[in-house]
Each structure stands twice: as C-alpha cells, then as structure tokens.
C-alpha cells in the first residue's frame, strides 16, 4: 500500500512540475524567451491562492483562478519594461526578478494569516480542497486526479495556442525577428502576451503545490527550482509539449530513483549524497550532449 501512496505522491509532484514545464516551454521553447525567473510566477501563484483562500475564504477554484490572474498580471508588469532586451540580458533580468519576488515575500511579513505567520514563518494550515468530503486514505488519489485535470487543461490550451495562428507567429519570431515584422506583426506585443500566458499557467502550478503541502514559505522558491524546470524542458526537447512532459517525468525519476539506488550501496551517507547530486548533474550534461534536441524533437512544419 505504501508503495502505491508513494507513487501517487510522485505523480502529483510530476503533474505540478509538468504544468510548470509546459508553461516555461511555451515561453522559452515556442516564444524563444529565455526566462530564468520562472519561479517568480510559481511563487506568486502559490501565495495568491493561499491568501485568497485563507483570508477571503473563497473556494479553492477561485483561489486557483486568482493565482492564474495574479501571476499573469505580474508577467505583464515585468515584461513591459524589459521586452526590448536581448536574450541573455533578459535571462539574467528575469533571474533577478525571481529573487526580488522571493525577497518580497521573505521580508514583508505582514503578508500573513495571523500570528507567527508570513515572511520566514511561512503560512501554515492551507486548506486542502474538498478534504471534508473525501476520506483521508483516498485523498491523495483524488488530488492526483485534480492535478492531472489541471495538467490536461494546460496541455490542451497551450497546444491549441501553439498550433493556431498565435503559435505560428511566435515560432516565426523565435526564428527571426524580421519576417513577422515585415508582415506587420508587433513582436514586442507578442512577447508580452507569451509571457503573460506562460506566467499565468505557472501560477496554477504554485496554487496546486501549496494546497497539497498545506504549507508555503519563501524558501520553496529558490532559483534552483527554475533551473530544474529548465533541465526538464531541455531534456524532453524544447519547443514541444510532449517533450516537456516526458522531460519532467525523467528529471523527477532521476531525483527519486537515485534515492533508492543509494540504499543498496555500502557508502557513507555524506559521500553518497554528493555522488547522487553529481550523477544528476552529469546525466543532465550527457542528455544534452547526445540528445541536443531533447528526447522528442520539435515537429517542424512547412507552410
């Protein structure tokens, strides 16, 4: 039974990170924008949903909707002034924006739900949706279903966008600025839209994560999380959604399976932990070396 629960937990996390990597893939893979501050949207989504549900006592779904809107709004705010930056400048600027968001929630401890909450105290007791109706032993399965639903929704919507006219213009911008410009498309406007859509979906992932852990604090949103999501989409194959999902699963499995492998190795725990991280790092490098376009290549179409 325990094994099953563990598997369910693993899949819930995979779904949450799956939404993250789909949304990053939309911005980076399809829109060609190297966003290294994706965790900012994750963070804002998590906090928005938490605060809406706990302070305004709205339903979980409204909280998630709020997360969707708030992180989309934030994406709009940061992409307006920075939309003219070159890729590498943009990458580091977004990395900085991600850290500023984290520092904001770390230092502004009035954003809280009571005594000993907010800031580094974190926010405890975030309600799980429909927990009173569903018995505890089935609950993880229900939540798995819920996250899967949101993942499917994200996949469906983004896939529609990518294959539609919007996605075609985006890909054209990614390949070359001049062509869409000559067709009268406003590149900057398209970039802002891409950021907003991707950011908004990342917000959903944040909400889903914290309603499961029932706890959130700013240390959930260190820059490392963004790097991991990047590894996911690169391994799976940047530019297509199926690749992003497979990459998510693989990086997740890499993190989990190494925990189990180590149980059979007679090495001291200290060294083992280092070796585990080394092998994760090396595997990312190896995948990048031998599968430069990722596991699933982007389907290039001629129009």
């Amino acid at each position: 039974m325990g094994v099953l629960y563990f598997f369910v937990y693993l899949m819930i996390m995979a779904n949450v990170y799956g939404i993250l990597s789909l949304s990053l893939n939309f911005q980076a893979g399809v829109g060609g924008m190297s966003n290294f501050g994706h965790v900012a949207f994750f963070c804002i989504g998590a906090y928005t949903s938490t605060l809406l549900v706990m302070l305004c006592h709205v339903h979980f779904l409204v909280g998630i909707l709020g997360a969707f809107i708030a992180s989309g709004l934030f994406a709009f705010l940061i992409s307006i002034p920075t939309r003219r930056l070159k890729a590498d400048y943009w990458a580091i600027t977004t990395l900085g924006a991600g850290e500023i968001v984290r520092l904001f929630f770390l230092n502004e401890s009035w954003i809280s739900t009571g005594h000993y909450s907010g800031g580094p105290f974190g926010i405890r007791g975030i309600p799980r949706p429909w927990e009173s109706i569903i018995p505890g032993n089935i609950y993880p399965f229900f939540y798995l279903f819920l996250t899967l639903l949101f993942l499917g929704l994200t996949y469906f919507i983004l896939q529609r966008l990518i294959n539609g006219p919007f996605g075609r213009v985006l890909k054209a911008i990614r390949e070359d600025d001049d062509l869409p410009l000559s067709l009268g498309k406003n590149i900057h406007e398209f970039r802002v839209k891409t950021m907003v859509i991707g950011g908004a979906f990342a917000g959903i992932a944040g909400g889903l994560l914290v309603h499961y852990t029932t706890y959130v604090d700013p240390f959930f949103f260190m820059p490392m999380e963004t790097f991991i999501v990047w590894a996911m989409i690169m391994v799976g194959g940047i530019g297509n959604n199926r690749g992003a999902l497979i990459g998510t699963l693989i990086i997740q499995l890499l993190y989990y399976s190494t925990r189990f492998l180590k149980d059979y190795l007679p090495i001291e725990a200290q060294l083992l932990a280092s070796l585990r991280m080394i092998s994760i790092g090396i595997l990312i490098v190896v995948v990048m070396l031998f599968l430069q376009e990722g596991l699933v290549k982007e389907k290039k179409r001629l129009y």
Partner: protein, 305 residues
C-alpha cells in the same frame, strides 16, 4: 562610521566579484553563452589552493598560482570533453549544459573536500589603520591583486596578437577563421583565461572569508548581475559593474533615505528611513534593471546592429 571605510569595503567586494565577472564576460564574448558553471571554477581553484597551502604546506601565493594554472587547464579539458560537442548549439542548450555541469562540479568539490568550513594558513588578520580606514594586509593584497590582474587583462586584450584575434573571433568567427585565425585555439585560450580569473577570484574570497563548497554558487547571482550591468562581453564593463554593485550595496544600506528626501532637514523632519537590510540582494538587481532600461546592452555593452 567614516565614508572612506564604506568605499574601501565596497572596493574589497568589487575586487573579489570583479575578477569572477571579468572571467565570465570574457568567455561569453567568444562562446556566446552565460556559463552557469563559471563560478564553480572559483570554488575549485580556492580548494586546490587550500590543499597545497594547508595540506602540503606550500606558500599561499605559490599555491594560488599553481591552483590558477590547474583550473585553467581543467577548463580546457572540460571544453574538450563537453562543450566542443556543442559548438553550434543554441545558447540555451549551452546554458542548461553548464547548469548540469555546475551541479556536478559543486558536489564533486563537496565529495572530495567535505563540507566543513576551511581557511588558508594565514591566521587571523589584524587590521592596520590608514587615513581613518581599517583594512587588513590581506585585503590590501586582494585589492592590489585584482587591480594588477585587470591591467594584465587590458594589456592582453589591447596589445597582444591573442587579444586582437580574440576580438576578431568575437565579432565574426567565420571571417576570423577565413583570415587564418585558429579559432579553436582562441577558444582554448579564452577558457583558460576565464577559468583562471574565476579561480583567482575564488582564492581572494577564500582569503577574505573562508571556504565552503558553495562559495562559488553563493556569489553566482551577483556575478551575473555585474556582467550584465557592465554589458556582457566587455571586461571593462565588468570592472565598472563590480564597482557599482559594491558601492550600491554598501552605500545603499548605510544611507539614511529620510535625510536625502528632506534635503538634510530642510523640508520636514524625517530621519532613520533606511532600506531594510533584507533587501540587500534586491538593491543590485534593481540597479541592474534600471540601467538596462536606460541602456539595454548594459553600461558598456556592444550596441546591437
């Protein structure tokens, strides 16, 4: 507290991070990607110097020099092993590869040297007082070393054939190749330069504070901010960026905004309005973003088209 002291503190910080940032920006200039593993060279260099200095009992300067050379060679080795296979790849692919490499290197250091805090065999430094400023001999050494290295970098870039070839390769690799420049050799030199500068910076941080396997990773974000601020690919920009970061961090936290807003008590009475210290990291980012709004390629970055 004296204002000079704050400037000196900023200078120490700028010297350490500046070396790292110059290394990063030099490699960026040729290889065209932001190397996330760059800061790990600093860490490896610092630990190699530690082994030679403390375990083998070598003089710290000698140990440092050897460590710098070893790290330079190591970086070429890594290039031959990993990055040479990715020459034509997108900069994002290169970034993510360097990310994975960084994780492996950082934990490699941890596996070899362990996580304990370490320090060089230089003892606790007692500060000397000069014009009302307290500074330790090691800190004077740090500032001097970094100034000298920057002069050397300047000479290499401007006065040598290598520098000229580097600039040519940076501007147009295909054309450079056509002109008979062996671009692969230039790439090797650039790796060597970038990594050894990083190692030097790492040793400086180690001299000033202490060594842990995360000493590189923990300065990664400021180092990136500096290179961007100055303009990616421009070593002089990195120097300026480092100074700006050092100064804003130190002055930013020290300045009473209330006094500035009220023009030192001319209008109203508002004192004790400081930037909360929790936002120290954000200060440099906000400066960075403001600068980029003004100049989208950094202070001394190359203009696009």
């Amino acid at each position: 507290m004296l204002f000079q002291q704050i400037v000196i503190n900023a200078l120490i910080r700028a010297s350490e991070l500046g070396l790292l940032a110059i290394g990063l920006t030099v490699t960026y200039d040729i290889l065209k990607f932001a190397n996330f593993a760059h800061v790990e060279f600093a860490c490896i260099g610092a630990f190699l110097a530690y082994t030679m200095n403390v375990t083998l009992g070598m003089n710290i300067i000698l140990a440092g020099l050897v460590a710098i050379l070893v790290v330079g060679v190591l970086s070429i080795f890594i290039d031959r092993l990993v990055f040479i296979r990715l020459r034509g790849a997108s900069s994002i692919a290169l970034m993510v590869t360097s990310l994975g490499l960084g994780i492996a290197l950082r934990n490699g250091v941890r596996a070899i040297w362990g996580a304990r805090i370490k320090g060089y065999a230089i003892g606790l430094q007692n500060p000397v007082e000069l014009i009302g400023v307290r500074i330790t001999p090691v800190q004077i050494f740090i500032i001097l070393t970094s100034v000298i290295s920057m002069v050397i970098i300047h000479l290499i870039l401007k006065r040598t054939k290598l520098g000229k070839a580097m600039r040519a390769t940076s501007a147009n690799p295909a054309l450079a190749q056509a002109c008979g420049i062996h671009t692969e050799r230039i790439v090797r030199w650039v790796w060597f330069m970038g990594a050894s500068l990083a190692a030097l910076g790492g040793i400086m941080i180690g001299l000033d504070t202490h060594l842990t396997p995360r000493m590189g990773f923990s300065v990664m974000i400021p180092v990136f901010a500096i290179s961007i601020l100055g303009g990616l690919g421009n070593p002089y920009g990195a120097m300026v960026g480092a100074l700006i970061l050092g100064l804003t961090e130190n002055i930013g936290l020290y300045t009473d905004l209330g006094k500035i807003l009220t023009l030192n008590g001319l209008i109203g009475n508002l004192t004790g309005l400081y930037i909360p210290t929790g936002y120290k990291l954000a200060i440099s980012f906000i400066i960075m973003i403001v600068v980029l709004l003004w100049r989208p390629s950094g202070i001394m970055g190359k203009r696009e088209r």
